[in-house]
């Protein structure tokens, strides 16, 4: 059994060097403590952390199918109620399992008000199957199914904003987070556990292989996303919206995009346009305050 002193994520999983998701998994499980059951669907974490005969997590893990994270949480919550069992139920799912194939189940589970903590670690695509586009892939990104060619130009559509979709359910607690801000992330996980009813955490998860950047720079890139004003850290707690951090002096958005090979084709014109969009958003935030009308993580 894991304790706060012994590892919740044990050595020996097969994740890639610099994997943002494994770092997030460590921060999340440690913040929750030993009294938790994790549900993991088909996603990177399912692939790298549950390979028989090894087990990565030092807490019970129930693997499920791609679309079923939230429906497994539903069933577990019902069974825990029936047994009088007090345990934190954690869904740990990638963006494909959350914003695409698992969205109906997630929506239903939130609407019904079951108590769980749903963590979407968002690496912005189907990474363990070889970097295909997802509904959370940002506009402009090259993926293996938006390869760009004579007739097409990479991903042309704006990503879904899953946090706003979840917020529209009137969920008790919702937060965005980043592995580059572990204290902020930990505080949000602890709040999510304490809240009665569903809680949702949307966490940016840099992917060195899929995004195309050196594996030593994962945390730095996640930090740049926040410091450039692209990835906004905020929480929505029982209807009260709070920005967790407003970067004093924002970095150029180019510093986030330029190190990633998936954006290698972006030109100066595009960068200027993106910078103007982000500057405009923050000007509005400074003038009118932060609201969910603001876009997050554009490209």
């Amino acid at each position: 059994m894991a304790t706060r002193e012994t590892p919740f994520v044990m050595p020996g999983n097969s994740s890639c060097a610099g994997c943002g998701a494994v770092l997030i998994a460590r921060l999340v499980t440690e913040a929750i403590g030993p009294n938790q059951i994790m549900v993991i669907p088909a996603c990177c974490m399912g692939a790298v952390a549950t390979s028989f005969p090894k087990a990565t997590f030092n807490v019970p893990v129930l693997r499920t199918a791609f679309a079923s994270t939230a429906s497994f949480l539903t069933g577990l919550e019902a069974s825990a109620k029936a047994k009088g069992q007090d345990v934190t139920l954690v869904g740990f799912a990638g963006d494909g399992a959350t914003v695409d194939i698992g969205l109906a189940a997630l929506s239903g589970a939130i609407e019904r008000g079951h108590s769980f903590v749903y963590v979407c670690y968002d690496n912005e695509g189907y990474m363990n199957t070889g970097f295909q586009r997802s509904g959370s892939t940002p506009r402009g990104a090259q993926t293996s199914t938006t390869p760009g060619g004579v007739l097409s130009r990479y991903k042309t559509e704006v990503r879904k904003d899953i946090a706003k979709i979840v917020a529209a359910h009137g969920i008790p607690y919702l937060a965005t987070a980043s592995p580059a801000y572990p204290a902020d992330l930990r505080r949000k996980v602890e709040r999510a556990v304490a809240v009665k009813g569903p809680a949702f955490l949307h966490i940016m998860s840099p992917c060195p292989l899929g995004w195309g950047f050196p594996s030593a720079q994962s945390v730095q890139l996640a930090r740049t996303a926040v410091e450039s004003g692209l990835w906004k850290l905020y929480e929505l707690d029982h209807g009260v919206l709070r920005l967790s951090l407003a970067p004093k002096k924002r970095k150029a958005v180019r510093e986030f995009f330029a190190p990633q090979s998936r954006f290698a084709h972006l030109t100066n014109d595009v960068y200027e346009g993106l910078q103007a969009e982000v500057d405009g958003e923050w000007a509005t935030i400074e003038k009118e305050g932060f609201s969910l009308r603001c876009e997050t993580a554009r490209a």
Partner: protein, 401 residues
Amino acid sequence: MTSGRNMTATSAVAYAARLAQVDVVAAYPITPQTRIIEAISKFVADGEMKAQFVQVESEHSALAATIAASSNGVRAFTATSSQGLLYMHEMMHWAASARVPIVMANVNRAVAPPWNIYGDHQDAISQRDTGWLQLFAETNQHALDMTLQAFRVAEDPRVQLPVMVNLDGFTLSHTYEQVVVPEADVVGRFLPPRPPVDWLDVGHPRTINGVVSPEHYIQFRALQKDAARRALAVIAEVGDEFAKQFGRDSGGLLSLEQVEDAEVIFVVLGSAASTIRSMVRAWRALGRRVGVVSVRSYRPFPDVELAEAVAGARAVVVWDRAYSFGCGGPLAAEVRSALYGRNVAPVVLGAVGGFGGAPIGPAELEKALEWADAAMLGRPVPLETWFGVKAYRDGRVPDGN
């Protein structure tokens, strides 16, 4: 004769879930299953049943939630029909391979398109190879009794597999019959609480349903195969025990009527067996030697027992209410396979019909008996006939008619 209450098979199933003291019911409404979950939600609302009832947003989620609940050690139940069962398909495999002892009522209904809400078996048969055990009810009383027996079979340590109880849409689901509802304490002795499981014990963490290599994968499948085969003995045993305790024969692998000296034997799943039984009695009165086998356990398939039961006949008419397109009636194929290798075996005729609520009535059955008679006389006859199909618009007659 014990007096019963007048109720539909769907109400009978709801009473069974209550008597089984299920802990979690997760379901999604679909005609003709709805009465089951309406009745259960009312039992729960009235405090007559302690279960957690969750109406989820899809059948995929209904089965997923049921699997998760069962993985956490409680007794879990769900119910569906037709399109809903098909929508569960991914989780059907999951439930069986994860070895969770769920019980599900499937109210048999045709599959779209074209849209049709009435009974046939295409929904259940299309899930044949998911690893679920499948029982077929002939009457409303069976629907109740088989649901109770299903939990015993599913949770037996020798089995640990999910069980589907099939009941024919409308013929049973919307038809009132006398049903004896047993007393809770008697049911409690027959079906004690589910033995505890510790798969998700936080004090002893395990990772369940993970990734395995090819050499390990087949080990899991082999264990599953053995369990499904062992279920034959368990179903028979549980059926005998139920009969002893409740005084009703409503389980087991097969129900045989007048097969010992029969020249012609009908083999069928579900409520059509009742119709055939009454025809058999009428034919017997006319001196015809006809019998019927009602297949109560479709999976596991009692191939040896079935072959023994029909081997002495000259012709066997297998009635399929489902079809494997480009091949034939699934049950007929399995009966032929069960008879393979015998020196003397009856001719097996594949009768196909009763789709989308079409009747399997006296007219169809008389025609089928004439066909069997022709086969016995050695006349050239088709091995398959579709019943109730009219000529096409261009005047052509369907193949096999």
